[in-house]
Symmetry: C2
Subunit: 202 residues, 2 copies
């Protein structure tokens, strides 16, 4: 059941990432000066909230299954449902990677950019590992059926772009109206310039 | 089985909307002059492709179920799975509404804006109807269990904003680098100014 233990570790980690990501993005929503910026980040956070809701069921289920002696203890129907749920979260990891990349275009400060890019890199590695695990698990179906492991992203050059690099030289972030948008905790009390707090006070 | 027939009509309609939406957005991706804009719209289209993939299974299944004499012909497990699938697509409708709203900030031409806003309005009505149908269906569980019908969007003022109005006066769309981004079919041949085709030729 090594694969199930690995899946459990991956989806448990991404739950932690969602929380860190929300802590970074929420101040942008709170400080947004226009409806478009607010809707944009609100939308991304809502999608991550929906993903979190699903993971709160999947992660304990994976923990439970990892305690079994073998996958043979699952019925074909249970295994099929598990693969279907994991496949949905494979897309979830892919979409989260893009949420992180999109957010790189927002932040100018190195600390936030390093945090986002670190989560992006690990999330991409997790996505690839989930794909491998699924290919391995789906081979064990007694009826020979396989879930569709097609990437929606094949043939799209955009996934080969180094968005850390591209965003470093980008003239405007989406929320270019927010001049300084580092999370509150990284803003030193005596630091000059706009902080999220000062923007909120407007 | 009136509810199942209604669900079938809703999700069949949204498949058509996804195709119309893709036809409107793809030219923006093709004409995008920077990686951020390209990633942004590519991401939205990818999410809609994923939704379409799920709907291609759900819609025929709903058609099949609507032919049955009563829901009692479904096992508790099948009904539970159906409600879970429909609940995921309830979120899908909600997210699609926001994709449409976000896109309103991109387009200046009345024809595209009217198309987007029409789909937005109907999608929101569909979303509300799915919610009602689910509440009705979940009451029929013999074990008394209910899916969580909580909105992630409750308490968020952003959903009360008239984005058609807000976007009309917005200074910049996300892809403000694209000066004229109407779909190719709406650009009259002799029309002055940039067209998607002329942008692509750069
Ligand atoms: Fe997204
Ligand atoms: Fe989205």
């Amino acid at each position: 059941m090594q694969e199930i233990t690995q899946l459990h570790a991956i989806f448990d980690r991404t739950r932690g990432y969602i929380n860190r990501f929300m802590g970074i993005i929420q101040p942008i929503i709170d400080a947004a000066q226009d409806e478009h910026t607010r809707l944009y980040y609100h939308h991304i956070l809502e999608e991550e909230e929906q993903r979190m809701g699903r993971l709160q069921e999947l992660v304990p289920y994976l923990e439970n299954v990892s305690g079994k002696e073998s996958l043979a203890q699952l019925s074909d129907r249970e295994l099929s449902q598990l693969l279907s749920d994991v496949n949905l979260e494979r897309f979830g990891l892919h979409n989260f990677r893009e949420h992180l990349e999109l957010s790189l275009y927002e932040f100018q400060d190195d600390e936030t950019r390093t945090t986002l890019d670190g989560m992006r890199e690990k999330t991409h590695a997790d996505y690839l590992q989930v794909k491998e695990i699924m290919a391995s698990l789906s081979g064990r179906f007694s009826d020979g059926s396989h879930p569709d492991l097609t990437d929606h992203d094949e043939g799209h050059d955009i996934h080969q772009v180094d968005h850390l690099k591209a965003s470093a030289t980008a003239a405007h972030g989406v929320a270019s109206v927010i001049k300084h948008a580092a999370p509150a905790k990284t803003a030193a009390p005596g630091k000059k310039g706009l902080t999220v707090g000062s923007l909120k006070g407007h």
